[in-house]
Symmetry: C2
Subunit: 252 residues, 2 copies
DNA sequence: CTTGCTCCTCACGTAACGTGAGGGACTAGC
DNA sequence: GCTAGTCCCTCACGTTACGTGAGGAGCAAG
């Protein structure tokens, strides 16, 4: 009776009505998702009213990203435990969402570094990406945003000043280490003060961030040193630790 | 000289070192992304130091989701305009992010409706999905959140009360329409008052939401009526519009 | 010389179709 | 009755980034 009211549709008609492509309907037929219940003697597909209804259900489920074979099982298996299937799919989507967000943040970080520079060689781009990934391992997303915000307010020239200051302090400390200077030495303690100021400029006084920075530099020293030579190594951290004990307040 | 320092690696060694699979390295070779610059007489792949470096760049770019053939072009073409490529990729990622977020929200909406119900037939699930998609067309994400929040605070029984109230009002209005009752009729105006209260319960007094609800019901009446019969049609909206003019304040 | 590990080259499978290739079916106009 | 145009059919390959064997050779140790 339902079928006599609306005559069966051919693929083209159903395609234009639903906005799908003919190929898509063929595909659904091939995989057994929507097999038209009739054919003309010449083999043309005929979709009855029930078929169209089934297709609408398929489109609904597909609109939430369900894979086709899962849709087929859903439509086949009746009303089993939909909750579990939905929860599984939701988990998949959440994972994909997190992944895409990670990629987006990495790429935005990259784009920020490109804003000013005119023509950056590819190797530098890769270094920035590696640095970004390494940071993800040692800082929480909130901490990364925190660091990012401070870097943005500082401006490019101030960043250069900081880098230059490190470029003076590290060799000076290394020289003291080589000489075996005592942690009580005033010159060394003055260097420690400047060190602490620079750390604070980066961490904004956040102790956790400072601790994570130290952890990163100590564990990934080889990696960091490969791209940015003249950085503190674990031995220097230990040495400076003694100096900070003398002047109080810790390294950050 | 670089190659004499570190002897070339075979696939297995490079795979374990980089965490990739042997098959992946084979694949990179097949598509010309990373062709080892040497082979043993027996045909075994030998990756030189330069090859390893290239692979590290590949891994960096892949960590931001670049497709392999784009990476190949990047590594091949030197330092062209990386900005444009990065921007394009960023656009792709943003689009994908938006898509996944849409799907997630649809599915969460679905999951909310399943929390209480024990065993929902599939057709009902599809109806909820279709309703969700229709709502996306008429309300902004903020408005949807607004509506969702009100629905959550109301609770299930209150929702049932509202539905029952509509179930009384609509037929009553329809009866008046059939009789040709004047918009000045007090009974009709009392119905209009209850109508407005129910609308406010849904919209929270938000005029924009109320207007969008009317637009949705008028334009999608056929769809809505197919799943939820006994809903206001455009004629009833016009009729009630006259009544609301008499009592003042509009329908929402 | 065999065992066991690594390496090689095919080559098919994945998800959801797009895009022809080559050939019937059906309608309208001549 | 013939033909042009539009619809339909069935292969069948291409897409992405590999996974997973199948079948066979290289190579060090016992």
């Amino acid at each position: 009776m339902t079928q006599s009211q609306t005559p069966p549709l051919k693929v083209g008609a159903l395609a234009t009505q639903t906005g799908l492509s003919v190929r898509t309907l063929h595909h659904y037929d091939e995989i057994g998702l929507l097999v038209p219940s009739q054919r003309t003697p010449a083999g043309h597909r005929l979709y009855t009213y029930d078929d169209v209804q089934r297709l609408q259900q398929i489109q609904s489920l597909r609109a939430t990203g369900f894979p086709l074979d899962e849709i087929r099982r859903l439509l086949h298996g009746g009303a089993f435990s939909a909750q579990r299937v939905i929860q599984l799919h939701l988990d998949r989507l959440q994972a994909q969402l997190a992944q895409t967000q990670r990629l987006t943040e990495r790429l935005q970080q990259l784009a920020r570094h490109l804003d000013t520079a005119t023509q950056v060689p590819l190797t530098d781009l890769c270094r920035i990406i590696e640095a970004t990934i390494m940071m993800e391992k040692y800082f929480t997303p909130e901490q990364l945003q925190d660091i990012q915000a401070r870097g943005a307010t500082m401006g490019a020239e101030q960043v250069r000043n900081v880098e230059q200051a490190w470029g003076e302090i590290i060799p000076a400390v290394r020289a003291h280490m080589a000489k075996g200077t005592s942690p009580d030495d005033p010159d060394l303690q003055a260097l420690a003060s400047r060190w602490r100021e620079l750390v604070n400029a980066f961490t904004g006084g956040n102790r956790e961030i400072a601790a994570n920075v130290r952890a990163m530099y100590q564990q990934e020293h080889a990696q960091i040193n490969a791209v940015q030579p003249n950085t503190p190594d674990p031995a220097m951290f230990a040495y400076m630790g003694e100096v900070f004990k003398r002047i109080g307040g810790g390294p950050g």
